[in-house]
Every structure is written in C-alpha cells, then in structure tokens.
Amino acid sequence: MTSPDFGSFLGAFSPLYKREMRHWFQSPFAVIFLCIFLLAAGAFPIFLGNFFGTAQANLSQLFVFMPWLLLVLIPALSMRVWADERRSGTIELLMTLPVTTTQVVFAKFFAVWTVVAIGILGTFPIWITVNWLGSPDNGVIMTQYVAATLLGGAYTAIGCLISMFCRQQTAAFVSTLAVCFVLTLTGSPLIISAISEWAPPALIALVANISLLHHFQLIGRGVIDVGDMFYYLFVILFALALSIRVLSGVTAK
C-alpha cells in the first residue's frame, strides 16, 4: 500500500473507528464486558488455580484460564457488531456514506479488539503483585500478554465475520462460541491423544497447528516465533477479507 492510499484509507477509517468506540462505551456493553472479564481473570487463578498456594512467581495461572475466558466473552461483544446494524437498518445509512467496505470492516474489528485489549491489559495489577511478591521472568509474561492479545484478535475477527451472517444476536453468539471452541480445542491433549493412535504424523501436526490454543501456548513459553505471530495475523486477515467479500455481497442483494 502506497502512502497516499494509506492516507485516504485513514481519512474515513479514523472517524469510523471513533464512532465504533463511542458506540461501545455509550452503551453499557463494553463496561459490563470489562467488569466480568476482570473479575473472572482475577478470581479464576486465585480460587480455581490456587494462585497463592503454588507459590510461584509467574502468571501461568492467569494465562491458563485466559483463552477460555476470551473464548466465552468475546462472542458476547462481537455478536452485536453486524447483527445489530442489520436488524435496526442503520447499515443502510452506513453503507451509503462515501466509505469502502474495507474501512468499515477494519473499523469495526479494531474497535472490538481495542475493548478486548483493554480487558487483557487491565489484569496488570496481578503482574505488579507477582513482581512485588517475587521476581518473575518479565520477558515471559510480556510474551504471554502479546499471545493473549493476538488470540483475542483472532476470536474477534471470527466473531465479527459470523455476526455478519446472523440477524439475531443470540445466533451470532452461539455460532461464534461453537466455531471458536472447535478451533481452540483441536490442539488440546485430549484431541491429539485421541487421533495419535491412528493418524499419520502429518495430520496430527496439521490438527495441532490449526489450533488457536497451540500457538498461544508456544508464544507463552517466552519465545516469540515469527511463525506463531503470522499464524494469528493470517487468521485475522483471512476472517476480515472474508467479511469484506460477504459485506459486498450482502448489500448487493
């Protein structure tokens, strides 16, 4: 993308993004999401994960629960993105403005991702606590935050795409949860051990590599591999590109 193109992309993108952000924080949804997310992110490691009992100075207890928390809560945000716009008819106003479908899709995605990132970064008091109580490997913790944000981005992009097909928010929520759950679980030991009996190694590797969780765990070990990063960026861009295609089709009918 050359710079004048990028300039004209930003021209309508930034007010569209601001509009989405205002939309989220004007209604109680973003605040409710953040409250529930932060409560759960704080409570799970302590009550379910024995955060203090393990007496280890790291955030692995937080990041064990994080993917599952994101998995359940992000569809609750993303379900509104297009379902709402289509049901109320405001999509007609939006799509007759001088904007490209790319600008609209990106603005909506980045706004939801921003809310998710605020939630993830909002767990920083736990990080401070760990540093106060012991001396953790902050490099590893940093990569875990990066991994969680990327994973959140992938769930968000998939959620936004699915929301486009659903007029009902609940339908969007359930479908997104189901799709993301399957994509997350493919890499779990449960599935891998079940197929490792018979499947060829190449298939096992493929199934493990499709998994959103697998790459989260790889990055979370403290080694940022370019391949793992690209995996998430690929998932995000693929879902967004598909959204752009679908949106052009939706308004054509």
Binding site: K18, S88, T90, E92, L93, T96, P98, V99, T251, A252
Partner: protein
C-alpha cells in the same frame, strides 16, 4: 451553457434487478439534471425504494449502470457517493447518540474537518431547524425531528445529488410546508430525486414525475401533463390539481 452542465447529475441506464428470482425492476433508465426535482410515484411495491437504493449504491443492480456526477457507481463508488446525500425510508439512526455527536460524526466520515466541518454543521442545523434538540439523544425525539435529523445527515456533505425516500412522511402540516420550502430552495443547486405517496405535494414540489408500476417506468411527465391526463378522461371541468384528479391520473397510469 458549458458542456459540463449539460451532463446529468444522475444517470440510470437499463437498470434491472430481482430479489430471489422475482423481478422488481425492468430496464429503468432516467436522467436527473441540476435544478430538477424528480418525483417517483407509484403503488406500494412498485419499485420506488429499490430504485432509490440502487441510485445510492446500497444495492448493486443485476443489470445496468448508475452514474453520479460522472462517477460510475460500480467502479468509483466512493467518489460517486461523495456527491450523494440519502434520506432512507424509516431513517434508522444511531439512537443512543445526541444529534450533535451524530451530525459531527457523519461530517467527519464524509471527510469534513475543522472549521469547514463546524461551518457546514451550523448551516445544516439552521436549514433543518434542529437548534433546540442538539443535545438530546436521537431515541428521545419525535418522528418529525428524527426525519429532520436524517435529512441533516444527508445534507451535511453538501452533495450535488439528494435522494429522499418519502421526505414528508410522518411530518405535521407545518413541518411538511417547511420541508417542501427547503427542498425547493435546495433544488436550485442540486438534482433531487424523491418518492412520495402524497399526490397533492407533487405539483407543488416536482419539476418532473416518473410513474413506476410493476418495476417499469410507465410515464415521465410534467405535473401539468400528469393532471391533464386525468382531466381528459374525466369531466374536465375540475380544478387541475384537485386531489381526486391526481388520484385518477395515478390510477389510470398504474393499473392496466
């Protein structure tokens, strides 16, 4: 007259469209020039709103070409839509927003910044008389005000083409009067396409009438020709713009 002013602001060429195999528009062609107010009339379901959605680029027609101020809607849709303001039927707006924030946001999306944006905002708010509700959220407004907010959003980019789907729908007689006055003022500098159910407002508002029935244009006439058609068929001694006469003309054209 320069060559440029001879080009129509809006040109539809051979537009056909169908929903799920059911044809809704058949070979619609029309031009709208600066200074014209084109009135689309026709029975419910004739294809008026579909035509307007195609003009605004919200729907892509199965066949045919839409050109707005020289920009092809299929290939230069952003430039085409920059010259276009649209008041949709029903006007779904961002209900939780205040009028002030809503109009400023639309202006920013349309590319207006700084002083230019504030100036346009002031002009449009004055034109649509929204001063008293600027800081109210849109969901608290009456239907008449919602309509005017939607119109203000259509006007804020100062587009050359206005597409107004039932602009006077839901307004009281005073507001209708104001709306017509505003449309006539705007028409001097723009091309306007509007649809209406209210036949009395047709002669007062439109320079040309396009009658659509069953997805086809059945007549393109001046308001005088339209009324004459009915008068010729009836006793002929009634006043030209009598509602009954207009309704007779409408019935003659759209049923057969």
């Amino acid at each position: 007259m320069t060559a440029e002013s001879l080009l129509p602001h809006v040109r539809l060429e051979g537009i056909s469209h169908h929903f799920g195999g059911q044809p809704v528009l058949k070979d619609i062609s029309l031009d709208a020039y600066k200074g014209e107010v084109l009135g689309l009339i026709g029975p419910n379901g004739a294809g008026k709103s579909t035509t307007m959605r195609i003009v605004t680029g919200y729907l892509t027609p199965v066949q045919g070409r839409v050109t707005i101020c020289g920009h092809d809607m299929a290939t230069q849709s952003v430039q085409a839509r920059r010259s276009l303001g649209y008041l949709p039927e029903g006007a779904a707006l961002w209900d939780e927003w205040t009028v002030w924030h809503f109009l400023h946001c639309i202006a920013a999306i349309r590319g207006l910044r700084g002083k230019e944006k504030n100036d346009r905002f002031d002009v449009v708010v004055a034109e649509t008389s929204l001063q008293q509700v600027l800081h109210q959220t849109i969901e608290t407004l009456s239907k008449g005000f919602r309509r005017r907010v939607a119109l203000a959003a259509a006007l804020i980019g100062d587009p050359d083409v206005l597409v107004l789907d039932e602009p006077t729908d839901g307004l009281d007689p005073n507001q209708k009067h104001e709306m017509r006055k505003l449309i006539r003022t705007l028409a001097q500098e723009k091309a306007i396409i509007l649809s209406t159910h209210i036949l009395e407002e047709v002669p007062a508002l439109c320079t040309r009438l396009i009658t659509i029935a069953n997805g086809q244009i059945v007549s393109s006439s001046t308001p005088e020709e339209f009324a004459a058609l009915a008068s010729a068929q009836t006793q002929g001694d009634r006043q030209v713009y009598d509602t009954a006469v207009l309704e007779e003309a409408f019935r003659l054209l759209t049923t057969s």
